[in-house]
Symmetry: C3
């Protein structure tokens, strides 16, 4: 079978800093694309949210992840990790104190992911889910490009 491709944009409404599990939507779209084996590429089309793979079982994992990243990139500015230097505020704050931290949190995580598709579904570990990670305080309308390249079922 020749390789084929399908491209779509997911629209996600976030309601504040935190995680939206995209896994079911992604598998649903893969099914509609009829690609049975291939690769799915995801791109977050924004600079203040990102894509991450993490645990799908205990919700406290997401609570800890969120608390950690907010402590690593606080709204009140940063200081060298070795303590050798003063606290520095962000220069860019056009959209408020959570603006620049959201850009930095995006840079420290991932804007693109590439995942295998096998048997018409994402090939993931048993505990893995794919999340959109909103880094702004308040929610937003977000778009994620999803692009599959692979082989379709020969019976369709």
């Amino acid at each position: 079978m020749p390789l084929q491709q399908a491209l779509h944009q997911l629209e996600i409404v976030t309601t504040g800093e935190g995680f939206t599990d995209l896994t079911a939507q992604l598998n649903h779209w893969i099914a509609s694309s009829r690609i049975k084996r291939g690769v799915l590429h995801l791109t977050a089309l924004h600079t203040s949210c990102s894509l991450t793979i993490n645990e799908n079982a205990d919700p406290r994992v997401l609570t800890d992840l969120s608390a950690y990243l907010k402590a690593l990139v606080p709204e009140e500015g940063f200081r060298p990790i070795n303590g050798l230097g003063e606290r520095r505020s962000y220069l860019h704050d056009d959209e408020g104190p959570d603006d620049m931290p959201a850009h930095i949190r995006t840079a420290l995580t991932c804007s693109t992911l590439s995942l295998s598709i096998d048997q018409g579904r994402l090939l993931l570990g048993i505990w893995q889910a794919i999340y959109l990670w909103e880094h702004r305080r308040h929610g937003s309308h977000r778009r994620v490009a999803i692009h599959a390249i692979g082989e379709m079922n020969s019976h369709e």
Copy 2:
């Protein structure tokens, strides 16, 4: 030549926090797939280990990387980087004090990589190697999905 694909899962036994160089295994598998030019996609099928590209020469680079990430995400909990706030412990500790730090270290590095294949081998810089980075204290059995899409040798 039409594009073709090959999908496999590498099994890696890690013996503790640290790095396993996958580069030779990846090139060996690419040779067996007979794909000469294309892209290799890697996905770590876990939420407590990750994939990274770093130096292949001086082993002290890996020692420093490991020490740094353990200091950035310590087992004893974290505090805002600007010092403006109290230390916070992890809520999720089902599998011990290294459980949640491993999830965070995974989120701060990469779970997927996509690399070019040229002339039947990974196209890498001279100092680059591909590592599985184990973030748990003790080793584990790990799986990495490896998925090549590309063109095979016309002579085979």
Copy 3:
């Protein structure tokens, strides 16, 4: 249309720590490849610079990103983020005090990106640009592998 591929290496001269916007060069090369819809894979072929997607509008975003990452991974060594431990220097300093921090900054950001191509151009959000992020103090000659897989215009 069958899928086709094109592989090239961009050469970039950096002049010091900071960002080089690759977006226009990437779109120019995609046009020359004649691929209209597909995926573009980028790999930084070095272990002391990385690839990142961030804001293309206010230059203070890049100034803040740079200042933050230098504070997160300082040249003078690091200390646990919770303050529970002493400052530790880098073991690897063969090429000076900015050598090991550059490797760590690379590991905390991304060495590979995969982006959709649509209508002969990168599919990006309106505020997104693709940057090479130099992490060494002084500039260097850098190479980025760029690899497109997709469909060409049927009219050419």
